[in-house]
Amino acid sequence: MHTPHFAAAMARRQLLKSLAIGGLASVAGSGFAADASSGAFARSFAPLDGALHAGPGEGGQWAVADIAITGRLPEALRGTLYRNGPARFALGSTRYQHWFDGDGMVQAFRLQGGKASYRGQLLRTPKLLEEEAAGRFLYPAFGTPMADAAPVRSADAVNPANINLLPMQGGKSLYALWEAGSALQIDPDTLAAQGFKAWSPETQGAPFSAHPRIAPDGTVWNFGYSAHSGKLIIYEIAPGGQLRRQTLLDAPQADMVHDFAITENHLVFLLMPLLAKPGAPPVGSLDRYEWQAQAPMLVMLVSKADFSVRRMELPNGGVFHIGNAWEDKGLIRLGYARYTEFLPHLKGLGLPSPTARLDQLARWTQVEINLAQGTARQFDVGLAGVEFPRFDARLTGQRSEFGVLMQNSGSAGNDQWGMDSVVTHSGTTTARFRYGSDWIAEEHLYVPAPGSSASASGWVLGTALQKASGRTTLSVFEADAIASGPVAQLALPFGLPLGLHGQFVTA
């Protein structure tokens, strides 16, 4: 067990005290309405409403040169946390109704020498520029039908690049990712959009999903799905960015595939029984998805060597995110956040007020695939209300016990949307830090300590929005002592739109 030295322990205690006081004060001050979470959710996007305009930070930018730090930011934690998420939901007379619809915005927290700066940028996609010129949203979005919509001529014409990021070449190149269209290359420093990436003529404009997996040798594996196509595109990209192999696989039940996993020899897909009704466009149209309550979840195993496919079944269920996967004596092991009410949950992620009954949230579920028998089974490990699984990215596709999850503890009320806790787990051991009911915590990720190969040696960091103040704070925890609270908190003087996924690029 890591033992923090005295000063760090002191700082931590002070921090915990200030968190507790802040929490109490806000409860007393606000009267704590039942819809505090959903109100904070919608308010986090309000600064981006309307035509492109100045940000709340220095020089009218989304920028802070020197973020106020409580506690001590570890000197060895150097690099940039990039985060992405839907951010602009209103333009002219038009307004999106679902969290996944907004134009993408990238946030960058740069940590260096115990100091930190921040910069954010709404991504100038072709969609954003065209709609900006028109003064309104023109196209239907995933969860928002649009009256007088313009016909969608290609996926990239409506690509908001709003889900995740892919750094390559040690962060020298950076892509903002959606899942129905191309990766958008962005400048790692200025965050300016530089155009869509074509990995090959055959995959130009084709779907490139938002959760690529990077093998320990730097090889980037990804896939793309398109509702109704019955196909998955597979990409294998060299560390330098050259496409090595591409293929098109038959994939029944692949109308919404958000994530996958890799092992030493396989790609693993969990294909849920969520079907897009005939006639629905390949991009969007949430209301045309239908849950097949009697159908199994399909496990699709793809051989990395020859792209041969095996299929097996798991009980009916839904999934956005999969943790790490690895091969272990004839078995493949993985964890995933499993939903039993996927479609109601997905439809509940609406604006302005997302709803999330606790029993609609995901439970952490471990899967064991028997390669010899061609069977799969799963175990519920008793972690409820979880999402955003992260693990040690150095061990992608290899055995890794340590993981990070976000959790809705339910203590803020059964209908309170949003995560309030960060959980680390290793085997059957879990540790937890609860921000409190005045906070909505976003994805937290694990950054290993430089030069250390030990599990859980390093930091867990992530952002959280304080409901009462409407401000965003980045918290840094010792990875092996998360329950002790953050060792450092970086408080922005304003709030950021609640986002999705982030990646840390070590300096």
Binding site: P151, P201, E202, T203, Q204, G205, A206, P207, I233
Partner: protein
Amino acid sequence: MIKNLSQAARLMALAALALQGAAHAADITVVVGNVQQGTGTIMLGLFDNAQSFPKTISKGTMAQASERDAAGQVRLVLHDVAPGDYAVSAYQDLNGDGKLSTNMMGLPTEPYGFSNNARGAFGPPAFKDAAFTVPAQGVTIELQVK
């Protein structure tokens, strides 16, 4: 008199021929806009019925993209078209393979467009949305490839 009658008959015959010619030889001038600078060919196809649209052209023509004017437009003419209802498709064959290139999911990767600038959602529009009428004296239409 006979001479005059004969002349008249010849004139009438010529007139009839001219009329017949007009009825069967209208020209469709297509101004294709948003043409990308540089290499490639603008490929134009004419469709005379909904069944063949947008697969089988009844007539076609092409022009080099290098003929693009300052406004990014290339002008092509489909000659000798009988009056009636038609649709036109156009694409810029950037890689010179003689077809509208698509990615592995089957979606076009070269700029394309239809008459009336009709657009389908992730596919061709309906024939009726792209259809226009060609009168006996011919017609000029504009469309954009995107």
